[in-house]
């Protein structure tokens, strides 16, 4: 007990320390949390023999594993809380166009995954990992750079909303496929159960809002916090026990709370809770990733970076165009969308969970996880840096695109 508490203390101290460092460097905290977990875990610190202390490292204790799980649950819960179908529908033409163009990245990922793994499920996982951009990192960069007040914020955030909806359905289906094993008949049945589960949750969202509203209708902030945590963790836990995605369940619970009068209170109260457990999640990802495995997936990471950076740039640019932005601002949308982060890692944990449940090849799960971690480390830093130093790219794009537009009046605006 004392050992575990000490390890947790080390973990939080490390997270707090590298978080401050990342902030000073103007970088996203996510890669730093991951690397701190990796360095303090069994695969780096655990391989060293320290003078006097011998072999000590932060172990993957049950607390950290469950904390990471809660991180996923709260990240998706907030996504649901922020998700507003009315808002999406009000701008459906623009968000629909931008989001559908963005889906090309999923297609490219699928081809790439099939080319590398030669099997459907790993290809679908890889496609998801390279498709989804990072809401957390992009939103933070928008705030840091002051772009939030500019027109480029809308296509960026709008496309992210589209991706969030896609990923909720995607997670439900892939979890069912991965946890269902190899049998095609069983897989079909599992996907059926997953879709049925989504329908039940949608019904709960549709008709359950008065119930959720009454649940948190109190002036006592402590009770609002406890009751909303109870609702989301209980539903997510029930989902996982039934073999369906806890993340998706959390997303829908968030959606059910969204129309209540208490959304703002819940957000204010639970934001620190989400940030704490999300940090544990990133630390845990680092903890369970053996950096030696990077050697084996380095070529794949390089390939994915080389293929999916340009594809995101192109789709992002056209997403900006779908919102009638000029070349400069569309370029910013393109640069911002290249950032991948938390959701790519959540998709990788589907494989890890499958391996633990014995329905997915453990070696393959390790490969996919190492790939996702390496890929996110590169893409989170690359995306943040591209946004920070967007100036030269904007100039190049403006002179390039606008000149060719002058040559060809059909493309011009």
């Amino acid at each position: 007990m004392a050992d575990v508490l000490f390890e947790i203390g080390i973990m939080f101290a490390a997270i707090a320390g590298v978080g401050a460092l990342a902030d000073r460097l103007g970088q996203s905290v996510i890669p730093f949390y991951i690397i701190s977990g990796m360095l303090l875990g069994q695969f780096v610190l655990g391989r060293l023999s320290l003078p006097m202390l011998g072999t000590v490292y932060v172990s993957e204790s049950e607390f950290i594993a469950v904390g990471a799980e809660l991180g996923i649950v709260f990240l998706l819960f907030f996504l649901g809380l922020e998700f507003n179908l009315g808002r999406l529908l009000a701008r459906r033409r623009q968000i629909g166009t931008a989001g559908t163009i963005d889906l090309a990245n999923f297609g490219v990922g699928l081809v790439l995954g099939w080319f590398v793994f030669g099997a459907l499920i790993p290809a679908v996982l890889l496609a998801g990992i390279v498709y989804i951009s990072s809401s957390a990192v992009i939103t933070k960069s928008l705030l840091d750079l002051g772009w939030i007040a500019n027109d480029e914020a809308e296509p960026l955030l709008g496309t992210l909303v589209y991706e969030d909806l896609f990923i909720a359905i995607y997670l439900a289906v892939t979890s069912a496929l991965v946890l269902g094993g190899d049998d095609v008949g069983a897989a079909v049945a599992d996907v059926g159960i997953a879709i049925g589960f989504i329908l039940v949750l949608l019904a709960a969202v549709q008709f359950g809002t008065p119930l959720f509203d009454r649940l948190v209708a109190t002036d006592n902030p402590e009770f609002i916090a406890l009751r909303s945590i109870a609702a989301v963790v209980l539903v997510a836990g029930t989902a996982l026990a039934l073999g369906v995605s806890e993340a998706v369940a959390a997303f829908f619970v968030g959606m059910a709370f969204a129309p209540t009068d208490y959304t703002h209170d819940i957000e204010t109260l639970l934001e620190p809770v989400r940030d704490t457990f999300a940090a544990v999640f990133f630390f845990w990802i680092g903890l369970v990733t053996d950096p030696l495995l990077f050697g084996g997936v380095a070529a794949l990471i390089a390939l994915a970076v080389l293929v999916t950076t340009p594809t995101k740039l192109v789709t992002g640019f056209f997403a900006g165009r779908a919102f009638d932005l000029d070349t400069k601002r569309s370029t910013r949308v393109a640069l911002g969308m290249t950032t991948r982060g938390e959701f790519s890692l959540i998709i990788a944990t589907v494989a890890v969970t499958g391996a633990e449940a014995g329905t997915f090849d453990p070696a393959l799960a390790q490969t996919i996880n190492a790939f996702a971690v390496g890929y996110v480390l590169v893409m989170a830093i690359l995306g943040t840096t591209l946004m920070q130093y967007s100036g030269p790219f904007e100039s190049v794009a403006v002179s390039w695109v606008d000149r060719s537009a002058d040559d060809d009046p059909v493309v011009g605006d």
Binding site: R87, A149, A153, E267
Partner: protein, 167 residues
């Protein structure tokens, strides 16, 4: 995006999922952009023309923004109404008025029983009740819901009175 025209101003409102809301206000020389975060933080940006980048002018916490907002609104000082200019008397003495809202502990009390003089130092010079004015109210004038109490005192006296007014 929703647009609304208030007087002859154009204010465009749009959602920033995960962040909050954005309001764009046309000015004579450019645009002002106000971002209200879900956390309550306000950021005010300016841009010289619609295609320019927004430059942050200032940032306020929720409380500060509300206070500054009400100052700008003219809650404390409205230069167009000459009679309110006289609220600050020479020497920093304030002439202030307070409405007694439902639930105030002062309802039913007299000026004496509430011990306003000793507890706050505020001198009650008049009470406005409906359309009538009770001037130089005596110590046993009973305060009623809806009364407007007009008092003279230092800013500390006024603050102390505000405290016993709301309980």
């Amino acid at each position: 995006m929703a647009g609304c025209a208030l007087l002859d101003m154009t204010i465009r409102e749009s959602d920033l999922p995960g962040v909050g809301k954005k309001f764009e206000i046309d000015l004579d020389d450019g645009e002002m952009v106000v971002v209200i975060h879900n956390t309550g933080k306000r950021e005010v940006f300016r841009r010289p023309d619609p295609s320019a980048d927004s430059e942050k002018v200032f940032e306020f916490s929720d409380d500060l923004a509300r206070t500054i907002g009400s100052i700008i609104e003219g809650a404390y000082f409205q230069p167009v109404e000459p009679d309110t200019q006289e609220t600050t008397l020479p020497g920093g003495i304030l002439l202030e008025w307070y409405e007694i809202h439902p639930g105030s502990p002062l309802i039913g009390e007299t000026i004496e029983s509430a011990d306003i003089g000793n507890r706050t130092g505020l001198a009650v010079v008049a009470i406005q009740r409906d359309d009538k004015v009770v001037d130089s109210p005596s110590a046993n004038t009973t305060l009623r819901e809806g009364d407007t109490v007009i008092g003279v005192g230092t800013p500390e006296n006024c603050a102390a009175f505000e405290e016993i007014l709301t309980g």
